[in-house]
Symmetry: C2
Subunit: 184 residues, 2 copies
C-alpha cells in the first residue's frame, strides 16, 4: 500500500444544511503538491437494503430524485439514526419505505459513493423472511413499490428509470451473495 | 410515472471550484412542500472504463481517494473533455491511467452516483482488444495497476481497499454483459 499524502492544510470552504466542502492541500510521497476538494461526511452513515421475498423477488421503491429532477426505482435506503445499528436502521427503512419488516438482515459491505471526492459511505444489507409492517417515514408522499425477479437484473438495469449506482451495486452484490449462500 | 414536483424556487447556495450546491423549494403533486438540497453538475460528464484483457482479466488502478484519505483499487475513470465523445474519453483515460489503449469500446449505461441529491452521472464503458500505449495524465503520481480475473469479483469486492461504488457497479455490469455477449 502506498504512503498517504501528507495533509499540509485542511479547511472547510463551504457548508450548507446537507453538504460540507473541505479543501485539502496535499503533498504526495513523490513530493508533488496538489489542492483537492472533498465532501466531508457528517451523521452516522447510511444503509441500502435489498429486501428479497420468498419468491426470489426484490422489492423496489419509486422515489423522487432531486439530483436529477426525476422519479427513479431503487432500493429502500436512508440515514442511520443516532444510537441505531445498521441492521436496525435497515429494518426501519424497510418498514417506512416498502411496508415490510425482515426477520433476517445481513450486512454485505460498506461502499463509498465515490471515494475520490466524497467521504460518505453506505452499508449494503440483504434482507429476507419478510412480513408486512409499516412505519410512518419522513417522505413527502407514499412510495410506490414493485417486485422484480432478482435473477433478471439485466432487464432492470437497462431501464432508464433505474440509474442509481448504489442501488445497482447493492442488487448485484445481493444476487451474487444469494447465489452462493441460498436462503433455503 | 408520477408527476414531478413543482419547483417553486431554485437558488445556488454555495459554490467552490468543484461543487455547486443548489436549494430547491418543491411542491409535490399531493401538495406537500419541502426544501431539498442537491449538488448540481457542471462539465461534460465522466466515464468509468472496464478494460478486459484477452485472458479475461480486468486492469485495475490504485489511486489516492481524497474523500476517504486512502488508496483504493478501482477502474480507470475521469471527466470527459470539451468536444470529446464518451468512447474517446474512455480510451484517453485508459492510456493515461492504465497504459493501454483499446480497439473496442462499448457504452453500457449512464449511471448516477446518487441521484437523490447529485446531478452527476458517469458513463460505464467496457473495453477490449487492448494494446500498450501511454499518455501523460493529470495525476500527481504514476498509478500502480493490477490484473484481476473478471469471473472472481466476489473476492475482489470483499477487499477493504476496493470500495468505490461506481467501480463495483461497472465491474458487475461488464461481467454480466460479457457473459451474455462473449468477446470471441
Amino acid at each position: 500500500m502506498p504512503t498517504n499524502p501528507l495533509i499540509l492544510k485542511r479547511q472547510r470552504i463551504a457548508r450548507t444544511r446537507l453538504f460540507q466542502v473541505e479543501q485539502l492541500d496535499l503533498r504526495f510521497s513523490n513530493g508533488v503538491e496538489r489542492t483537492y476538494e472533498r465532501l466531508a461526511s457528517s451523521g452516522y452513515g447510511a444503509v441500502a437494503v435489498v429486501p428479497v421475498t420468498a419468491q426470489g423477488e426484490v422489492i423496489l421503491v419509486q422515489e423522487y430524485s432531486a439530483g436529477i429532477n426525476a422519479y427513479q426505482w431503487g432500493l429502500p435506503k436512508g440515514s442511520i439514526d443516532p444510537g441505531e445499528g445498521n441492521l436496525e436502521a435497515g429494518n426501519r427503512e424497510l418498514k417506512e419505505e416498502a411496508g415490510v419488516g425482515a426477520r433476517e438482515l445481513r450486512f454485505l459491505k460498506s461502499i463509498h459513493l465515490t471515494p475520490s471526492y466524497m467521504e460518505r459511505s453506505i452499508d449494503v444489507l440483504v434482507a429476507w423472511d419478510l412480513y408486512e409492517e409499516s412505519l410512518p417515514g419522513d417522505e413527502p408522499e407514499p412510495l410506490a413499490t414493485m417486485h422484480w425477479p432478482l435473477d433478471n437484473l439485466a432487464e432492470l438495469v437497462a431501464r432508464a428509470d433505474v440509474s442509481d449506482g448504489i442501488s445497482i451495486t447493492a442488487l448485484y452484490m445481493a444476487r451474487d451473495y444469494l447465489q452462493s449462500s441460498p436462503i433455503q
